[in-house]
């Protein structure tokens, strides 16, 4: 019997020749992620009674969740995280403003195909875009990983999603994800390793591919996997070169390692189910309040009044997302009574968006530009809605209270729909504004 991606990745990470779904393994991840919660994890770590992190070079710490600090408490929290990285010699540390952890670690080539990354963040599924095994864990578990370098994991069963063909104009990877989650439910991939197959994946840009494993956190998945191809290796080669200069190592060797260590499931691997989608039949989708699987076609909610449009997050805050929004906004104004908050996913995205003139387009249209980071996604700051207000957002979650206000509503959509809605003042189709 052939092996799935998850079975191969967890066999390697636990030092075994072969493991099977259902088995419990002690995995030693290549990368351990934390963000603003580093301070809280540090406090748990101190409870363990050990002085040193076992493999500080495996850690990656990014301050992103509430940056720059909006309150004294947040500042205190960041200060504690900085004390930790200094004390333990954590070299992969990214200061406030560098960006959202998943975007930054991707840009810095700190996760490679076939590797295992565990993080104290539910969207650690993100790294499936480059063929890595990424899974979210709790804070206590990250403290345990710092102390021991290993953590027990159950090898998940795998679900196969096949995407065939090309998406029509105006339809995005986000729409595909919302369609999938709407069809199968927020627990449709519960506990599973969700593998994406089919030529449809190769037709997507790398930035679009990043959306898919990121959104799989909303599908209940443990991890997700997309096949790493030449486009992925080329992206990594360029960034590994940069990383190698910083770390005084040979880039060429690392690029070779990335290619050599990439893992692909066997043709006769066992899947709990297979679902096939024809990309050409998909249309723009929206997730309505207050559940990500409360999905409807855009046409069904068009005209719903909004007060805030939010473009950003680890799901849809990249350059192509900003470009799609700019295409809609160019030469137009955001509707009176509506505001738009734009938060690039990283400083690199912000820099390139500035160079290409996108930031000017946003400002001329009347939008606000925020510091790269998570922004108002989980209700910390920079765009908290008032009670009874409606936000359309390019994020991944629309749970009640998510953006900080219990009695407000969040609709989730693709970046172009967010921009079109900002211009119209109500949920609108970008192909029509």
């Amino acid at each position: 019997m052939g092996k799935t991606f998850a079975e191969k990745a967890l066999a390697r990470a636990s030092g075994q020749t072969e493991v099977t779904a259902g088995q419990i393994v002690d995995a030693r991840p290549d990368r351990i992620l934390s963000h603003d919660n580093t301070a809280a994890i540090y406090r748990l770590f101190k409870q363990l009674g050990v002085d040193r992190v076992q493999h500080p070079e495996r850690l990656a710490v990014t301050l992103d969740h509430a940056v720059p600090a909006p309150t004294t408490q947040h500042a205190q929290n960041h200060a504690e995280a900085r004390r930790f990285v200094e004390e333990q010699g954590v070299k992969h540390f990214f200061e406030v403003g560098r960006g959202i952890c998943h975007q930054v670690l991707s840009e810095e080539a700190l996760v490679l195909p076939g590797q295992v990354i565990l993080g104290a963040d539910s969207h650690t599924t993100h790294y499936g875009w480059l063929g890595a095994f990424g899974a979210g864990v709790g804070r206590s578990e990250v403290a345990a990983l710092w102390a021991t370098g290993e953590l027990w994991l159950r090898v998940p069963e795998s679900l196969k999603i096949v995407l065939n063909g090309k998406l029509p104009f105006g339809v995005t990877a986000k729409d595909f994800c919302l369609k999938l989650i709407g069809d199968l439910g927020a627990d449709g991939g519960l506990y599973a390793s969700v593998e994406f197959h089919g030529d449809g994946i190769y037709h997507l840009s790398l930035e679009s591919r990043m959306v898919i494993p990121n959104m799989m956190a909303e599908f209940g998945a443990k991890n997700a996997w997309l096949p790493p191809d030449e486009a992925v290796f080329a992206y990594l080669a360029e960034r590994l070169e940069r990383r190698s200069k910083r770390e005084n190592q040979s880039a060429q060797d690392w690029a070779a390692v990335a290619r050599r260590d990439a893992l692909y499931p066997d043709a006769d691997a066992r899947y709990v189910a297979t679902h096939v989608y024809d990309a050409s039949t998909l249309e723009p989708m929206i997730a309505k309040p207050h559940r990500v699987d409360n999905v409807a076609p855009l046409s069904a909610v068009r005209g719903t009044r909004i007060q805030q449009a939010f473009l950003g997050t680890c799901t849809n805050g990249r350059l192509e997302d900003l470009a799609a929004a700019c295409e809609v906004l160019q030469g137009k104004q955001i509707a009176r009574g509506t505001r738009m908050v734009v938060i690039p996913a990283s400083s690199e995205v912000l820099q390139e968006a500035t160079r290409r003139g996108y930031i000017s387009i946003f400002l001329e249209a009347g939008a606000v530009i925020g510091v790269p980071g998570c922004g108002p996604c989980m209700g910390n700051h920079m765009g908290i809605p008032a009670p009874n207000e409606v936000t359309i957002s390019s994020a991944n979650r629309n749970f009640r209270g998510r953006m900080g206000t219990r009695d407000s509503e969040i609709y989730l959509a693709s970046p172009a729909v967010v921009a079109a809605s900002a211009v119209a003042g109500y949920i609108a189709d970008p192909r029509e504004v």
Binding site: R43, Q47, S122, R397, R406
Partner: protein
């Protein structure tokens, strides 16, 4: 020290209860003293819960209980409110782990969930793998030995202290020291 029977009143909720409604994200970096967690437990789901919960009460949920954010405070606030068992049709995986790691038992028993009504007194017998309700007795599959080892140790941190041989060291308080 292993507990075998837990008995309490049931608080009943539906499918896909997410961690944002259990412990809102706006508190994740502003409320750091775990003694304050319980007063916000389930805040955006059921404002009565924090006011009226009693030790050993049991939370009953539908499918995918605890979905969303990985925030461990969602499991800790439930623990700090005195709840030791959650019965659901299924659990989101990170929340499941967070419960186990904090000594809260996540029990999967769909027929019991269908039978239990709010305020029913429910008894969970861990050794026998049984949930007793006013409308019947239901079996649930035992938790795996690796999970029970963590629960029996009182959580992941105490278990690791034993494993690392640091049990004798003082356990630092989990807060900024009362200033927050």
């Amino acid at each position: 020290m292993a507990v075998t029977h837990i008995s309490g009143r049931a608080w009943v909720y539906g499918d896909d209860v997410n961690t944002d409604v259990i412990f809102p994200g706006k508190y994740t970096y502003t409320i750091t003293n775990i003694n304050e967690f319980a007063q916000h437990a389930l805040e955006d789901l059921d404002p009565d819960f924090a006011r009226q919960v009693q030790p050993d009460d049991i939370i009953v949920g539908g499918r995918n209980f605890g979905c969303g954010s990985s925030r461990e405070q969602a499991a800790v606030c439930i623990k700090m409110s005195g709840v030791r068992v959650i019965i659901a049709k299924s659990f989101a995986r990170i929340f499941f782990r967070n419960c186990v790691n904090n000594g809260v038992l996540p029990i999967v028993c769909p027929p019991a969930v269908d039978a239990i009504q709010k305020w029913d007194v429910v008894t969970v017998d861990l050794a026998a793998g049984m949930v007793t309700t006013p409308r019947g007795v239901f079996e649930f599959p035992p938790l795996s030995p690796s999970v029970m080892a963590i629960v029996d140790a009182g959580g992941l941190i105490p278990m690791l202290r034993r494993k690392l041989g640091t049990e004798h060291l003082p356990m630092p308080e989990l807060s900024f020291g009362g200033k927050d």
